[in-house]
Amino acid sequence: MFEQAYAVRHFFAAGGPVMWAILLVAIALWTLILERYWYHWFVYPREFARLKARWEDSSNDALWQARKIQAQEVSQLRRQLVGSVFLIRTFITLCPLLGLLGTVTGMIQVFDVLGFHGTGNPRAMASGVSMATIPTMSGLVVALSGLYFSIDLQRRGSAKARVAADVLSQILVKAGKHETQTASQ
């Protein structure tokens, strides 16, 4: 464990200051992703069940009004489901760009070394070159790790919102039919 920590520390030292920005972005990205999955697996089923129960219990007289209220609630639900996915995608776009920034700063260091030593000292150039390439790689890896989950979350959220709208409107239709039947009798 200590050895791994040492290796990662060395890796960070080789990559330069941009690595810390990439690490922060990676932590933020995965916080959002994990929160989303938590929401999908544990929170959303409860919320949806509560909402369904409320609509089944409630007896609205005005069908039009009920539809509007339902539409508002579904919209809120969709916003909750898909809301932070936009932020996740932003972070995923951000990661390779941060890596590119690290590349540029590393190249600048390489040029500094070249200007100072000339081309005769590849050993001194090596640190600059690794500083240029390591942030690129880490940015790409972080972006790749988040890409699948962002797409999955996007589809999952929109699908659930659609299902929720369908289910709620069905409840309303059943209640409305029931109401009309009772009214006709």
């Binding site: 791994q4 060395h10 932590i27 990205l29 995965w30 938590w38 880490s138 890896v141």
Partner: protein
């Protein structure tokens, strides 16, 4: 309220995931992480140069051989004193020799005529200045020309009665052998000299000559 709690709770695992990602990257790079495992297993090899004693420095010094000066004229060789063997000190015997007179009748046998003196027994030294009557210049050997060598060849030869050159032999040469010898012999064999005369008659004479091969830039 619950949403922000969720974010806070997710922060910890997310940090773990991010660090794990970075650890995977580290092993992707193949840097320090693997060296920890590999280092103790590999036997370390170390080569130390051990000298018993400081060896004395060998120096080779090369000196340019001095080309011998061209002899203007071969001086007449002094008479070589022949080594005279010491008188054998045999014990003298005082034995009375028997007195006898051989009275052989040989008066009838014709005595052989004394051999007429037919010139000198061997060639004499050449006493004139060694200026050839006709001279064929030696060709510089191609091999020496390419290597940039210069040198000399010392030769002895016999000037015959008719002035031609014969019996050429290499005495000394520098560089040692084979570079200039052949060419020097070949050239010298075609030269012609004034024959040595003894009492107005031409005789064979021997002489020594040094042919220099100098490379001019």
């Amino acid at each position: 309220m619950t949403a922000s709690w969720r974010f806070l709770a997710a922060l910890g695992p997310a940090t773990a995931v991010a660090l794990g990602l970075f650890w995977i990257m580290t092993s992707l790079v193949g840097g320090e992480g693997r060296e920890f495992d590999r280092a103790p297993r590999q036997p370390l090899m170390n080569f130390i140069r051990m000298d018993d004693a400081p060896r004395p420095v060998e120096e080779r010094r090369r000196e340019r051989p001095k080309p011998p000066e061209e002899p203007q004229a071969v001086p007449p060789l002094p008479a070589v004193p022949t080594a005279r063997s010491p008188e054998p000190q045999a014990p003298r015997l005082d034995v009375p020799l028997p007195q006898f007179r051989p009275d052989l009748a040989l008066s009838g046998v014709p005595a052989a005529a004394p051999a007429a003196p037919s010139g000198p027994a061997g060639p004499v030294a050449y006493s004139q200045p060694l200026t050839p009557v006709s001279q064929v210049p030696p060709v510089y050997p191609r091999r020496a020309l390419m290597q940039g060598l210069s040198g000399w060849v010392k030769l002895t030869f016999i000037i015959n009665e008719d002035g031609s050159v014969g019996d050429v032999e290499v005495v000394e040469a520098s560089p040692r052998r084979g570079v200039f010898d052949h060419e020097a012999v070949r050239a010298l064999s075609r030269w012609r000299f004034n024959p040595q005369t003894v009492d107005g008659r031409p005789v064979a004479a021997y002489a020594t000559i040094t042919i220099n091969f100098n490379l001019e830039n």
